[in-house]
């Protein structure tokens, strides 16, 4: 084993200095959000508030109409959960048959998903917007879920396909020999086994949907169903540079995802490392 020496202690100290420097932006975020209006200009930007207050949070949370942060939070949660559900259901099914397929169309279809990942958002944006508008999907939660399921499906299929490829077929074969049909095999045998892959898919895609600003802005901006980033963008625009209020919103938007991350940090980090491995 490598021993813990004085040099190691020094190294540990240095890394901590780097970590604190990295986290410095969070310091400014918190102290500014706690400042009352009159201290915003009177105290230095790096100085903690003389009279810390939560009134910025109260004001930001009680806004109505388009600036209703709580409604936006609800929309974000609905859209994220809906998208994850769709991606897990259809992504796992598709990846499963592709991974188990012995026919040529299986690999051809797989490359269809592979290439789709490289196509950048912008090119298809206008046609998508026009199509979605004609179907009445613009500005609705359901439309966003459909859009995200479509855009992230290649990612979900990849992650699941990689998992199924390494999953031994023995159980499935045994169940099939016992006379279970394919549907039964999938539900009884495969579904319980794919939990780890589902965790990775849910975290990676969920994070993208949760943080997405660009698509949500285009498809939801100006509607009643704004997500958190869009609502934040508009609200910040109307606040101009009332940094204490802006940072109160920023903190509110960060808390759910940070709490979830700290709660499930191991899965997050594994999800990223594992999804890539």
């Amino acid at each position: 084993m490598f021993r813990y020496t004085k040099m190691t202690a020094l190294r540990e100290g240095l890394v901590w200095v780097a970590a604190l420097l990295t986290l410095l932006p969070f310091y400014f975020l918190v102290i500014t959000a706690l400042k009352p209006d009159e201290e915003l200009l009177s105290t230095g930007t790096s100085a903690p508030p003389g009279r810390p207050t939560l009134e910025n949070f109260a004001e930001v949370l009680t806004q109505g109409g388009d600036n209703n942060i709580l409604m936006a939070l609800l929309n974000s949660v609905l859209i994220t959960l809906g998208s994850i559900a769709g991606l897990v259901a259809f992504g796992s099914l598709a990846a499963y048959v592709l991974a188990r397929s012995t026919a040529r169309w299986g690999s051809v279809t797989f490359y269809l998903f592979l290439i789709a990942i490289l196509l950048p958002t912008q090119l298809g944006l206008v046609p998508l917007y026009i199509g979605a508008r004609q179907l009445g999907l613009v500005g609705s939660v359901g439309g966003m879920v459909l859009l995200y399921v479509g855009t992230l499906m290649p990612l979900a299929v990849f992650l699941y396909a990689g998992f199924f490829r390494n999953l031994p077929r023995d159980y499935e074969e045994a169940a099939a020999l016992d006379g279970a049909g394919p549907g039964r095999v999938f539900l009884r045998v495969v579904l319980p086994l794919m939990a780890p892959a589902t965790g990775t898919v849910a975290i990676l895609t969920g994070l993208i949907v949760w943080n997405d600003f660009f698509t949500a802005l285009i498809f939801l901006g100006g509607s009643d169903n704004q997500t958190l980033p869009v609502s934040m963008y508009y609200y910040v625009g109307s606040l101009v540079s009332a940094w204490n209020k802006i940072f109160a919103i920023v903190i509110i938007s960060m808390v759910p995802i940070l709490a979830f991350y700290l709660f499930a940090q191991k899965r997050f980090i594994q999800g990223f490392a594992g999804g890539i491995k």
Binding site: I130, S223, V240
Partner: protein, 424 residues
């Protein structure tokens, strides 16, 4: 501080526009009936995000007076043009819509009229159109957009703070530069601009062009359209942008101006550290209403030589969706007629904080008193970009002016970029 977002609503917003969509479901009135419906929908830019938006106030008053319900759709300004365009194409646009005159902005009315999306308006609307500007409100002899009040765009003078500092408004450009230097020594600035937000330097350049270009050649835009001149050849435009450079070099702007947002303007003006800003009259008006004790008025930018001159035009117009349900369409047309009535028009002007389209009368907003003579004598031109063919020209001016402040561009290259955008 929230309402100050209104400053973002300079009439020529062309900040990176973000697409959006309004729900757009129409409130079904008395469909198919011959008479007007008892309700209609109305979309407009809502810059301040607050309930004090003049259009909202107006809609409420109309409902109170006539009983006709208006379903309002206040939309964020930076995505407004695109939202309306897509809704019109999708056939789910509201019956009544706010636009900008001409074709130089993303929310401009003329391209939409050309595409056949708008309903021609009647005599009452046509009568309000300023003489000589018909081409910015309609095509082929028909008027498609009803102007609202006249909005001066010039220099907002912080009269209260100036009084305290003992500074008089400089009547010529040299005096202005002199004031810049002496104020900078005192830790104040003569002007405050939002240099990081291109439309503000853009608006400043247009306000300066009033005396450098349009005072001498009011029909400059027509000459440009006819190909008789270009921006790059125009001495007036060269002088306009050189003035921006001169202001910058003389230290007229607040410290950190190139990186400043609209908040810098509100802070500079309300705290009295800056004495002038370049804002549409309506924004100055709202700023004053939002800040007790603030005294602002409107002045012409000092000419290098010759007489002062202003920009003033109806920067917001109203149009009716040709595809709207007949009943709703009629209800929207009735509303326009109501607005055209002189008594109501006066109220509209008051709510908007503009100048009556018919010219300044007895009830002229006190903030415009210093420019009353100019308004009465007709010494003003419409916002130049209303007469330009596409939003790219103003974008080239706005980002170019920003580049002049940071030293990235020079006068001639900005003008050439404007020509290039113009000819596309």
């Amino acid at each position: 501080m929230r309402r100050l977002g209104v400053l973002a609503a300079v009439p020529a917003v062309s900040v990176l526009t973000l697409a959006a969509c309004g729900g757009g479901d129409e409130d079904g009135g008395a469909a198919g009936a011959a008479g007007p419906a008892d309700s209609f929908t109305w979309a407009f830019e809502n810059a301040s995000g607050g309930a004090e938006n003049p259009w909202l106030v107006l809609a409420e008053e109309y409902t109170e007076e006539t009983g006709v319900q208006i379903e309002t759709q206040p939309l964020p300004p930076d995505s407004y043009g695109l939202t309306m365009r897509t809704q019109l194409q999708g056939g789910n646009a509201p019956a009544l819509m706010m636009f900008a005159p001409g074709s130089g902005q993303s929310s401009s009315v003329i391209p939409l009229a050309e595409a056949g999306y708008l309903e021609p308006l009647g005599e009452a609307s046509a009568a309000l159109v300023p003489e000589g500007s018909e081409s910015q409100f309609g095509i082929d002899g028909e008027i498609y957009a009803q102007p609202t009040s006249l909005i001066p765009v010039a220099v907002t003078w912080n009269a209260g703070a100036a009084g305290e500092a003992g500074v008089e408004y400089p009547e010529d450009f040299d005096a202005y530069l002199e004031a810049c230097r002496s104020l900078a020594d005192e830790g104040r600035s003569m002007a405050v601009i939002a240099g990081a937000v291109p439309p503000n330097p853009g608006l400043m350049s247009m306000a300066i062009s009033a005396t450098r270009v349009y005072a001498e050649t009011p029909d400059w835009n027509d000459q440009r359209a006819a190909g008789e001149t270009t921006f790059a050849e125009s001495e007036g435009w060269q002088e306009t942008l050189q003035t921006v450079v001169d202001l910058n070099e003389a230290g007229c702007f607040q410290p950190g101006a190139p990186g400043a947002g609209f908040d810098a303007i509100t802070q500079g003006i309300t705290q009295g550290t800056s004495l002038t800003a370049f804002l549409p009259g309506t924004a100055a008006n709202e700023l004053m209403n939002a800040t007790p004790g603030l005294e602002l008025d409107t002045r012409a930018f000092p000419p290098a030589e010759g007489e002062p001159y202003l920009l003033a035009s109806p920067n917001y117009v109203l149009s009716v969706n040709a595809d709207a349900d007949e009943g709703e369409k009629q209800a929207a047309l009735d509303f326009l007629e109501w607005m055209a009535d002189p008594e109501n028009a006066e109220r509209v002007t008051e709510i908007q904080g503009g100048v009556p389209i018919t010219g300044p009368g007895e009830n002229l907003n006190a903030a415009y008193e210093p420019v009353r003579d100019l308004l009465e004598s007709g010494s003003y031109a419409p916002l130049p970009n209303q007469g330009w063919p596409n939003p790219g020209v103003y974008d080239a001016l706005a980002t170019g002016a920003q580049g002049l402040l940071t030293g990235q561009s020079d006068v001639q290259s900005v003008l050439e970029a404007m020509d290039q955008a113009y000819d596309q």
